[in-house]
Amino acid sequence: MLYFILRRFGVMLLTALALTFIVFYLTNLPPNLEKLAKSEASARMTDEDVASWIEKNGYATPVLRRYGEWLGVMPGWTMLQEDGTTRGRCIAVGSDPAAAPRFCGLVQGTWGKSTVFKEPVQKILGRGLSQTAWLMLAVMLVMVPTSLLLGVLSGMREGSKLDRVLSTIAIASTATPEYVSGVILVALFASATAGLSPILADWGWISGKTLFQGTATSAMDDITFWNFALPVATIALYGIGYIARMTRASMTEVMTQQYIRTARLKGVAFRDVILRHALRNALIAPFTVIMLQFPWLLNGVVIVETLFNYKGFGWTLVQAAGNNDIELLLGCSVVAVLVVLVTQLMSDIGYVFLNPRIRLS
């Protein structure tokens, strides 16, 4: 087991290196750097000025070397300026160059500084991730039990009326992307002029103008049902349909297995056949899907956080990408890569506990 995990960590590290290098390369393409120079210094620079700015800020060295510096496995660049002071990647402006460390990169905990927010990248990411973590937690708490319940209920008697109804719901929900369902939900529940809210307000059932809040900004300080329900529902709806379909497929297959017949003919009640015999076997396939939802959620929050103006990880990613904030974008990609790899490792380990036939080797 330990050996397996260690080996998986090795593979993960390699994957992470490869992925971050690709992102690094793409964000550090010359046009991007030119844009960076123009936004950092002056928008009306000549081409020579741009070239010299790029050189002075350490962006002219080969891409592999810069990647090494960013990682913190190669010493940061230093440069003697005309006025006799030394500039360098690891030297803060105005500090003593001799006291500065040689290495400053990801490994040392220096993730760079965001050009948009004028703050260290770690700080912004930390803030964004903690906000997103709450959102994801809420989504998972709603999505996983609901979808498993839907899937199991529709899969246990294939072709029954219950199955048909639940399957229709699941297909409809998974066929609606977030940007559609989000808008529909806002229109239905959080608009002062359309949907349910004006009716409810007319009847005097709600004190405010809308039932739910159309923005989740206030949820960053204080999460309430009324400001958080719509973003959570928007993300969960899509996932519910997807996981429910997977669970249903897996459940219907398990229900045709001979050991289910054995259990039935042992005299086990239908409820116990489902709970004790079918469920664990039926959860093996959806488990992987659920674990795959974590990375997918990161992607889902981009739209929902922007739609509901919730300043989490997704919103940060959008800001970084929109403003050519290279360091922040790189930081985001590191986080995303880690989330994907860690959840996959968790799913592989969890698999072993669900399925005794699988041995880690």
């Binding site: 042992k266 664990r280 880690l360």
Partner: protein, 695 residues
Amino acid sequence: MTDQPWDPSKPILEIENLSISFFTRLREIPAVMDFSCTVMAGESMGLVGESGCGKSTVALAVMRDLGKNGKIVGGSIRFKGRDLTHMSEEELRHLRGSEIAMIYQEPMASLNPAMKIGAQLAEVPMIHQGMSKDEAWKLARQIVADVRLPDPDRILNAYPHQLSGGQQQRIVIAMALMSKPALLILDEPTTALDVTVEAGIVDLVKDLGHKYGTSMLFISHNLGLILDVCDRLCVMYSGEAVETGNVREVFDKMRHPYTQALFRSIPLPGADKNSHPLVAIPGNFPLPHERPQGCNFGPRCDYFQDGRCNAAEVAMSTVPGNDRHESRCLKWQEIDWDAPVKAKIAKEKTPIGRVVLKMADLKKYYSVSGGSFGSGSKKVVKANETLSFEAREGETLAIVGESGCGKSTFAKVLMGLETATSGSIMLFDENVQSTPIQKRNVDTVSSVQMVFQNPFDTLNPSMNVGRQIIRALEIFKQGKSDEERHARMLELLDLVKLPRAFAERMPRQLSGGQKQRVGIARAFAGGAKVVVADEPVSALDVSVQAAVTDLLMDIQRENKTTLLFISHDLSIVRYLSDRVMVMYLGHVVEMGTTDQVFQPPYHPYTEALLSAVPIADTKVIRKRIVLEGDIPSAVNPPPGCPFQTRCRWKSQVPNGLCDREMPPVQTLEGGHQIKCHLSADVLATMEPVIKTAAE
């Protein structure tokens, strides 16, 4: 529920005029029609028939578990006097598992893979007797010991995949016995198991039946097994019971043409491919919606009389003076049942020619990564050890052994799908042992071909039959033009006795026997000289088996093919082979002509194997030798003789030689080889396992 005390002299199970249909969108398919049978307390009833005859449907009907499409459309099933057909789900649930229990064909699939054995066993008394968990586990432990499994505590905490097939089946039996049911339904309980394991299971079932006084409904296609286990039997054909009665009486004095034809198509001791060939039942099993008018067996019956047998439905009629013996035949009183089999032309024995294939000291080792986490230690599976033999032109060499003995590995090495670790394979003076099939030339490939075990999986489902045979011809570079190949394909269809129109059919439109014929045609497409037939008939029904076996023999006679017949079925081996090679754990333990191997002296393993095969003949007396334990793993074979862990003759060898040394190959008279430490004197004292009682 009406809990009236039940009179033990009354039948436990009474099925009367039961009819079951399956409903599809197209039509109603009658699966069982007008089926009646009675099982008394402590009695075991056998249900025999070919696949599709409805025997499993009857079993599931007793359990009332016919699925969504199946419905009981008529008749009644009374269990201890209560009608099961009108019971509610709740009442049924109380009966299932506690009063009626079932044992299934595939033990692995019947056990929940994600639940511990103990939990699956303990569940039964916890549901039915409301037993506490601890007590239930204690009972489970006791029953596991009862079904003669070693180390019950370890087994209770194991998952199904950690047990061998035989152990799994014992667990399924234990599960059925957990609440001491009054009726046990066994649906082909040993079909998926090896013969020696089967013998152990059969003994166990019989003993437990006596011990607990359980009545049994035993479903099988194997007549020999029915004779071993059952008191009475019921022969089914195409959804109907055609004959029922006392086992011995039906075996000796059958009164239905189908029963007779069935017996003539199975190889009994005494049958011989040349002088006493098997008689296959002509024609095919009718599909449920294409049953003929009148007697279902009519179109295939030798005694068929137009205008009488196909006039109206035939009812069961009692054979008088006998113990509840009934037959569904109009003419049973007119047929001369003792008439000898219509003399089939005895065929010439094929002359045996020059040596075609010669193997010397062939070894095949596989290395597998050991340890559960892929840690470096490699283990070696010795699949074949020092295999040496010759096969001659026109000869049938049978290779016999249980699963895991290395017979399939040997076939793979010969075919070139694997390469040998060491040793040589000479095929027509050409050394092929280290040439994988990709590098063999077309001639070699087309001269060594294989007929596979499962005809259902080995034909491409999306290509018609003719195209598949032509494809083989193209690969073997036969024929100059497409027309020539097409003509050759039609000839091949003639060769395997399939109508030429079958060239246009898709595999799904063919029956199992027909598919296997296509497989044979494909194997012979390139004029194969050596054909490896890997259990070619074991997936087929008995009546079809005979026809396919005969076909193989006929083609062999014509083409002087060398046939390597891999099988675990000793009856068929005895019937058709010239020489036999018995394998155990990768070693050839005995080799000789068929007569030598089937007569004493035996290798101890051959002796056990012979005694394990059920024989459907009441006149045959068999010595029972049940092997203890399972076949050792080839990864970790026992030291010394591979068979020493299960050998009953071990004590006859002095100085514990069996534990230490690999036995030498002793050559007895006539070139009969036995790999055993037993001295010639001891071997000479061996008695024949199978004796025919004097009449």
